[in-house]
Symmetry: C5
Subunit: 354 residues, 5 copies
């Protein structure tokens, strides 16, 4: 459940804007990297103290400040103060139980997203909260820990491939969001493969474990859905272009992200439909198997009960049982038993119970 409901209780009663880190601490040191570029220049460095990033606020070049680790409240506070961020935003950054959302403060736009990983060991999707601040010429990104899906973007900036070096901070923000949404497809493919393998199992050999697996996937779908549905609204609001921070030329790219989001949602809903269908198949295959067992039971009872009864009759100790004295009595009774048994088998075959 902790993936679904974050422990917010330690916050209750504190004044709004109080920074309390909610979530597990996923990294030890806070790591701040700066990438600063325009079409001609490029600079990349890791800084020791948070103050080193302050001068970039007013440089005309595009600056991407990336902070890995949000448990150190002081660093967040300093950045917030220097970049004039509203205290409630800082609170949202350090509280990792947010839904994806967007808030437009005029001077800057605040976006919360979920970066998803498929943790093979735990066999479950894990979420990391990514917060973006988009200013006129900078993007600040906050992540819970080191390691992200943004390396291809860094590479593109370094090498100057594509149009990223020619465009502004809004395009950088778009690129970050796009990369996150793209990474959802990887998770969908992984879940898709799992669904496929369960489908095969269902046909060949359904076990209670199959059921567990179906339910496990259903839960992962609920989790995935929870992260993606609100994202749609976020991208839609970005794309509608109401903010002056988003240039018109970036709009079409955001529409593209929006399409991808819809595709992800579509795939989730389709998978949910299919998992429901698989649950039905599982249950009816179980009941079918039970039917099979019942049939065997019935057939045994039907065949042996009358036979045993006949044997019982000739096991009675009455003094006057003429059959017992006949020399052909025994073989005749055996014959009768065989005939009864076989005719029953034929009857069942006709009734399709065999």
């Amino acid at each position: 459940m902790s993936r679904f409901i974050k422990k917010r209780s330690k916050k209750v009663g504190l004044p709004p804007g109080t920074l309390v880190h909610i979530g597990e601490k996923k990294t030890d040191k806070v790591r701040i990297t700066i990438i600063d570029y325009d079409e001609a220049n490029f600079e990349e460095k890791e800084i020791k103290t948070v103050e080193e990033c302050f001068p970039f606020k007013n440089k005309p070049t595009v600056t991407w400040i990336n902070i890995d680790g949000i448990h150190d409240i002081k660093i967040i506070e300093k950045i917030g103060k220097h970049f004039d961020l509203h205290p409630l935003i800082l609170e949202d950054i350090v509280n990792t139980g947010q839904r994806p959302k967007i808030e437009d403060f005029g001077d800057y736009i605040f976006v919360v997203l979920k970066m998803l990983y498929y943790n093979e060991k735990e066999d479950e999707i894990q979420a990391e909260q990514v917060s973006l601040i988009l200013g006129s010429n900078f993007v600040i990104s906050f992540q819970e820990r080191e390691g992200d899906v943004f390396n291809p973007i860094r590479e593109r900036i370094r090498s100057g491939k594509g149009r990223i070096r020619k465009m502004g901070a809004d395009y950088l923000a778009y690129a970050l969001i796009d990369t996150i949404v793209d990474s959802y497809f990887i998770i969908l493919e992984k879940l898709g493969e799992k669904i496929e393998s369960i489908e095969e199992e269902l046909v060949t050999n359904p076990t209670p474990e199959t059921l567990q697996a179906i339910h496990h996937l259903k839960r992962e779908m609920i989790f995935l859905r929870k992260s993606v549905w609100p994202l749609r609204e976020v991208v839609n609001r970005l794309e509608r272009g109401e903010s002056t921070l988003i240039h018109e030329s970036t709009g079409i790219y955001l529409r593209d992200v929006y399409d991808h989001t819809i595709q992800v949602i579509d795939a989730i809903e389709t998978s949910r439909d299919m998992l429901s269908g698989m649950l039905d198949i599982y249950l009816s295959s179980v009941s079918n198997r039970m039917n099979q067992i019942m049939k065997v039971l019935t057939i045994i009872a039907t065949i042996f009960m009358p036979l045993t009864f006949i044997a019982g009759i000739y096991g009675m100790n009455f003094e006057f049982m003429p059959e017992l004295a006949w020399p052909w009595g025994y073989p005749l009774v055996l014959l009768v038993m065989v005939v009864i048994g076989i005719s029953m088998l034929i009857y069942f075959r006709r009734k399709k119970w065999l």
Copy 2:
């Protein structure tokens, strides 16, 4: 059911605006406390007669009048008269079966909320109705009984921590609503823990009690939902800022409350989805167990019925049964029986019934 449908029948036919307290009387004495403050001054006192709070109506400082206990109709009436409240509002205050709602009367805004507690003894969520009147420089809050979740706010006012002493009555109202919404997270965490423990039970040892527990949680979710869904509309209307009583600077705080409300709703819906899944798992684990029992039954019948039949044959009293006279007859029959039994066991193991 009394948690779900309040007894309104004693009201039927009375003229509108007639004050009749609906709900259980949860406290004996009515207790009225006043907190009056601005940035510089602070005063807190408990008053004996309701008239003592009247002078605060026109003081420029922010005044918070808190009334614990709403069964004393006369007190409510006096306050209503002095503060010019509409009779229907007074009726709503004393009728504890309200849904959360908001009404804007121009001079003041009337808000009904539900304060929720998790009653460990009864193992259920319990609701207390909180009504707020937000005027230009005062907030009147009505509660069903003493004891609430507002102590941290009182503390913040007393100590002057945060920005509460610098802001107006609208910020105070926001703080009260925010605290109530925050307290829902505590309940969600409690329910989340229960869901988690049931989940473990489901895997290790599902009993009919597990089912009862799932259904109990489902009911609590229905109850929680009933209180939270309308709240969303309430906060949304406050936040849209149509009233002049709400200053623009408070708007962003209300948006924050709105986000929290959505998070609560989200968590409720996720929990409902998961409880449904758990119900499915329970039912199929029960049917799986039944299957197991059927298998045992079938195996016993399949093994012992033919063996008993063979024993029955040689228990027959025919005079001419040559096998009976053979010295190796008995051990041979025993051998045949063992062979039949073992080959059946092997057959079942192949069919995966064992």
Copy 3:
């Protein structure tokens, strides 16, 4: 079904506006009463002929004409003619299969409502159609039979309590609607009690009758819902205040009725959710009981089949069965049987089948 679908077939093909009474005739005589009042004066009388109520049309005082019994087409026609009502409205009044609805004709507003009773004898909710015509200074109400929930209003008018004598015809219409909505709470409480008693039965001793009771309540809920859902739209349209017949001061009262309607709908939906949950509990308790029976069956078979088999072996008539001649053979076999039986019991207890 006749409660759900009224026989309209006798109307098919008739020109619109043809008055045909649809529904059962619930009263013999048509009874017309008039209450005429303003702040100073009050007059109440029962009239013999319909023409006696015509002069009240143009009196400045507020007049409430109440007609009990709608099967006498001629009376309805006369009133329709004198008060200038559209033929389609008259048709709706006498056709009791209407949904609650509102139509604004400028000069007057036509409202159809359902007055609901809980018929203890039939153990079902019964509906009576109430049609209201609200003119500038009169209200005409049509009921299917004598006896209604309006007596408290009559009393309030007579005694001059509350503000009813000071307000206009729109307030009277409001009061009538409010009283009808209030009476729904009584039905909800009755259904709520039934749900509660079934819940107890479910835990202690579920029988097929419990299932019947759950389904019966579900049907009543469907019936209730059918009457209340459209009512919401009716009250909402009244409250939006688009008609000049509704004074602004009455608006807030109508908003209050709207709130009550929402509360009723809320309670219905909650009850439906709970009844669904109860159905689930019932079904799984039935399947649990079946499981119990299967266990007993299995245990018996598992214990006695091998024992009977052993007895069968020593009942065989082979001449060379050395055990038969041993003096300790019999007690030993008995001992073996006891050991087998007890060890099986222990095994089942371990497997939690006992």
Copy 4:
């Protein structure tokens, strides 16, 4: 299925506006009748060639041209040409797989409806497509075969009863639509009776045939719904009065039709709810019966297995079984057996298995 999906495949690839009759040919000859009237005059005749109806296009009187049979493409084409109908409309008229819909072409309005019959022999609802063209002073109706529900309208026009002769073509169109909607009530009553009789069967003697009947009714409801839901939109658009072809005075009549349509939809949804409930009752009554059978089986096994075991013990051939020699051995064993049997019966009665 052919009732649900019409064979459109022969149309694929043809240019739009190509007339191909889709559906079964339900009548041999095409029959064209003309009714022409105003307040003073009335003329009714059946015509041989389609050209005879052309002069009525520009007559100031209201003309109703009714065509029974739409398989003769040439006739449809001629009418289309003379009355200036768009080729796509002609295509829709001859293609009987349309949903109810409305299209406003300025000069005329095109409406497609479904006339429904209950075919007692096939025990299913059957649909006939009716297309209406409403011009300023004419209505053309296309039906699949002879025989319709419009005779009362013809009668009203002939006799001059009601206001039909005083009103324009729009009122005639209204009357046709109203009559079709009214005929739905007849079908609903028929289905309602069937539901009622199944309900009785459910309580007294549910058989697999009952289940078939429930499912059959569910299918009929799906079919009915498919025809009625889109109708709502059609009537709603007519009623909104955006076309100059619809006079204001007709608007209120259309609102009346709209109300009836809502009533039909309401009744369908209620019936669907009730059929679902009946399915639940059926299934649980079946499982209840199975439970009953299991009980009998268990009781028999529980009583006779130990008794047979005891008999088996004394059927063993040990030489040293002292009981066998006791004179009271046999009656004592019989007594023990009786005691065991009776005490088991008592035990089961206590457990409520009997």
Copy 5:
């Protein structure tokens, strides 16, 4: 699953607008054909190099460029460059995992559709992505492989039948879309036939294969739905006529396509409803069959257990069993057994278990 979720993972991290073909390569060679026409002239040719189609861009005649095969990135790039297409559009064309969508770029409209085939061999619906670029006087269509449903359109253009040669590029685009939607009806009919044949199977002889078939059809419906639902929005946006590229005269044809799309959706939803109903019937027929088996089992046990018990009693070896010495003992016991057996059979027949 690969039909449901396309492998997008190889795209993750690439800059937007990078062309990577996603999907299986369905054809070897890329084939480009050009049809150029106006009312008077007509030219059709297959071209070798993509450059040959460039001159048609500015010709006043209508040009339809059809490309079969989208895996050759270079060709797509060249076309994109010459016709000024946005890189993101080119990306969408080669990525076959798109949902149907429409994008209006002012100068041209981009439409993605799914062409569906029923693959008899695999017994499943297969989709081919068709992308259309509609410019002022040209239409470019991209298909995944050779072979399509457009031949009738080519024929109409060649022969000059219908109005296609007289209309512009928008009409050509309409014709292409219309043909695709029409082809959905063929698939629906195929699925309809399958549903019908399963329905018959359900009544006569339901097997687990029937269940598999129902689920298979359900999946095909999910797949079909996924392609058709977004199409509705696409056609709706085209039809609303916001683009200057769509002439008003084409609007009515698009409305016709819209109607067809709704009909397809309607048929899909109806089929889904019916498949759900069939699943219910299957499951209850299976449980009915199980009931039948249980009855047989019970009857056998009930008849033979007491009989075998009686035989067991007279098989006991007590020395003092007077019955054994009676000459009529044996026939009497046999008689008693027959009587018990027959009376039980009668009892069961009365209880309707036989």
